[in-house]
Amino acid sequence: MCDQTFVAATFGPCESCGKASPLMNIYIKTEAINYCSFCVEMMACKGLQEGETVASLKKESESLKKKLDEERGKLSDIELNQVAEKVEVLGPLCIKTRRVLKGHGNKVLCMDWCKDKRRLVSSSQDGKVIVWDAFTLNKEHAVSLPCTWVLTCAYAPSGCAVACGGLDNKCSVFPLSLDKNENLSAKKKSVAMHTNYVSGCTFTSSDMQLLTSSGDGTCALWDVESGQLLQSFHGHTADVLSLDLAPSETGNTFVSGGCDKKANVWDMRSGQNVQSFETHESDINCVNLNYYCQLNPFVSGLCCCMFTGAPQCRFYDLRADREVAIYQKDSIIFGASTVDFSLSGRLLFAGYNDYTINLWDTLKGTRVSVLFGHENRVSRVRVSPDGTALCSASWDNTLRVMSWSTMSNILFYTQRKGCCILRLFSL
């Protein structure tokens, strides 16, 4: 290391590295600093304040994290499943596949329900975005996008538009028209512009605002009409993989999960990161907010949210600011990539990479049932807005709509009586 020659007035231990050497006496903001020339160089080129190094920042960060864990631990006096012991156990659930939506030419990456509870939009790796009528299996609209990986799609609350985005770094909005001859691609409007892929998008309570998450590590709120960036959310240190908005008219909180193994809760108005949860396990593939408080809104708004990553799904309570339940089983070795709650919040549907959907009892922490049917990993599960059906999108190019079934109840009981019985075909 080539040392600069300078006139040294003092010689002694450097205040930064502690080694005895000629010291440079300099002043930073009227404070006298006596560092050896090496440390002065380091400080100058890294722009650090006095006494800071990457190592010291890390140490401070670690100690704060420990303190945070301690604070959270103080309130951990009971487990959710202990509180839920008195709750009745769920009876046998019969959820059967009612519709199989075929039409995509490649993996279906995302889907979203419309508020009218019968339409849904799905996007696929083949570049197509299709709007389906789940009751009649009719494909109402189909749009081809120039970029093939359409990672995310969302239905507008009014049902008049869909938004989609992906590897083109943009999120575009298409108004849906009833005219079959109209070319929807021509009416495409690019709303969001990110510097990396768009991993998730959702409309807020109106058609006018769009919230997006991106591989560039940020989330952003956009005005659909003008394409203007209204608010951007910085805080993730790696790609943001998913986001979910609090389901309420006045909701202004959302949660985002990313490759930095963190899930952050944000305040939409201020752009501040209000709470953050770290899992230490693996990337957070999907976050989901369930707003239990529709009947009794709390001042703070939400009470729980849910993340997945590895084979465990974790349940966090936002008010207590800690994890309250983990849904896992030794027999499950594949990661979960998507979750959604049932209408009451009692059931959690989680789609796994082993092609199944597991149903968990959120309160008791036990697995209730497994839904089979897909022939490749499940990329997205969503419960319809009225809670009557569950739609799952998969890499096997199909979507399945499932709902409650009565017929299999009879099958279940007669088998128990030991009767010899032909298999009833599924309705």
Binding site: G47, V83, G217, H234, L347, S403
Partner: protein, 70 residues
């Protein structure tokens, strides 16, 4: 954006965030869990995927006849 930041900047960002979070208001778990449980119990009877819907109201009921064995 996160990719363009140097390690030091990322650490600083995390540190600022942690400082904010250490002082957030928290409520004890027992109360929250009890509330969660009671909320879910309240909405539970109306959950169509758990309690089910009658065939008349079920928009997805099959159109095929099917047969029963007696």
């Amino acid at each position: 954006m996160a990719r363009d930041m140097s390690d030091k900047e990322i650490l600083k960002m995390e540190l600022d965030q942690l400082k904010k979070e250490v002082s957030t208001a928290r409520t004890p778990l027992a109360a929250n869990c009890a509330q969660t449980v009671s909320m879910v119990e309240e909405l539970f009877p109306n959950d169509p995927l758990i309690k089910g819907v009658s065939d008349e109201k079920n928009p997805y009921k099959g159109d095929k006849g099917g047969c029963t064995v007696t």
